[in-house]
Subunit: 319 residues, 2 copies
């Protein structure tokens, strides 16, 4: 029997247009994998988003290096790329790689070579605006050494389709001013993403180096398998791990997780202000904002008009 | 109070000399991280081992690309490299990267650049013997297309030192004839390796593309955290996942996992004949052989003299 439930959730306000697109597709019985790819391509193509795809900020050498992954929750097939260059849609390359049993995670030149060989659209991913921001940062760094990194807003997206199949994908240009070849959690199974159609899926955004220390996406899916709701799974995985990392490693970066189970229920947890977009068969696409709350829980509410107006203004502000 | 327990375990017969070395170090109160690095360097340096370090078989283009990782079980700090070239000891580069909060996983040219910049010993890793084997395979491939890959014997190593600290490391040249930039599970947190000194550690060898579909190392450590012995944790993580992958993905590659807990107890599970070496305060280094047994358990016994003699003969046989 076909279920009519469907749902999609993705990280950050930037994913909203993609979530609208994916929800249209899912309502029309599209496959979860197609919805995830369409969602992420929408984010990758938008030049004002500084941390994903076209317009993404470069590494310290001025090169835009991208990470992406795709997982099919039915078969557990995975494809991923790390440090790929000049490819317009890293998510599509990752999805194509998921068709192979061997050689399905490719990095650096080898990843770019795969994209060329398989006819993926290539383009110069460094926009004039991203170049200007990089040059500005280089000047600042001449005065003072870099203490923190930013711009690590990965798009992570989950879809549940009407046949009950789930898929997850991620795409990012990684940390702004990262070292050449730095790879974060986004293309790493269980850290940046995980999906099992019989259970649910999760995806991460934030400081990859810390997310991978806890295999956050796998841990959330595992907790859903053990019976937790997506929200409880997120809360129980994220907040104790944040505390553990502070105690053991001495510090912890910012990160946020999203999850959806095979019934289309969803949850998020975060140690920083975190926007996301979600749509289900029962609820049209909406942008919500999450904050860590007391006692290891998450406060979630709609974003205000003022927040959205300010976001739009900052997005396109002169540099 | 200082405990006097210590232990070390590593994948494959090839790791035995390294295990002997690590056990000497641990008996003399060396740190777990130093023991793991020394163990793996021993394997990397031995030219007859075709899947790790010097003498490792190249990718399809004739280039030796190496993956390695290191994790400190006290702090959860991780360092890793994927597709690094011309570096004599990939494990040492991974360990050096674990000192950084950012940019601790580097791939491709960026990884090699880090090694150069930080003064690591560089060398041509393609031995005449490995080159000959590659050329021979190229000739075979002119006659018949490649159907399966082999040579995916990663060295994975765990150490528990007398202060109770644990560390884990991996190093491999990956699949023989892999595509350029292919990365397996070895440098991926939770898939190829995981360590938490308060619980235990695990490491993997085998077909990385399948190991990462199940985040096998993290899952084993998690089960130990929930109270399982290392052997039960290995059995309960590996065999159900092998069955699940067969059912869901339609096939499953060969892989093997090792684990040790913070008391120095250990376990392994495998879906193929699998040798390993283990030493503890109570038991000198010994080579054991494991096979999957009935009812999701693992049969473990000492290797025979005949097995060892045959291994030595094949290792150095004319090509």
């Amino acid at each position: 029997m076909r279920q009519m439930k469907w749902g999609t959730i993705a990280t950050w306000r930037m994913a909203h247009d993609g979530v609208v697109k994916a929800s249209d597709l899912l309502a029309q019985q599209a496959q979860a994998g197609d919805a995830v790819e369409a969602l992420i391509k929408t984010v990758e193509a938008y030049p004002y988003y500084k941390s994903v795809g076209y317009g993404g900020l470069p590494n310290e050498e001025g090169v835009v290096e991208m990470d992406a992954a795709f997982m099919d929750g039915d078969t557990l097939a995975q494809g991923a790329v790390g440090g790929i260059q000049n490819v317009k849609h890293a998510i599509s390359v990752a999805r194509a790689l998921a068709k192979y049993h061997y050689n399905s995670f490719r990095v650096g030149e080898g990843a770019t070579k795969f994209a060329l060989l398989h006819g993926f659209e290539m383009t110069n991913m460094l926009t004039p605006r991203a170049k200007a921001e990089w040059q500005k940062r280089l000047q600042v760094l001449r005065q003072q050494p870099m203490t923190a990194y930013d711009g690590h807003d990965t798009v992570g997206a989950i879809a549940l389709d009407q046949t009950g199949s789930m898929a997850v994908g991620t795409s990012t240009s990684g940390l702004f001013m990262k070292k050449a070849g730095r790879v974060g959690d986004s293309p790493l199974s269980g850290s940046g993403y995980y999906a099992d159609s019989e259970i649910g899926a999760a995806a991460a955004t934030g400081l990859g180096e810390d997310i991978m220390k806890g295999c956050m996406s796998y841990e959330i899916v595992r907790r859903m398998a053990a019976g937790a709701t997506p929200q409880a799974a997120c809360d129980q995985a994220v907040y104790p791990f944040v505390a553990k990392l502070k105690a053991r490693y001495g510090k912890v970066g910012e990160f946020s997780l999203i999850a959806m189970n095979h019934n289309g229920e969803w949850g998020v947890a975060t140690n920083v202000e975190f926007t996301f977009s979600v749509a289900t068969a029962d609820q049209p696409a909406q942008i919500l904002i999450a904050h860590p709350a007391a006692e290891g829980q998450t406060k979630i509410e709609p974003v205000s008009e003022a927040w959205l107006a300010n976001y739009e203004r900052e997005l396109k502000a002169p540099l």
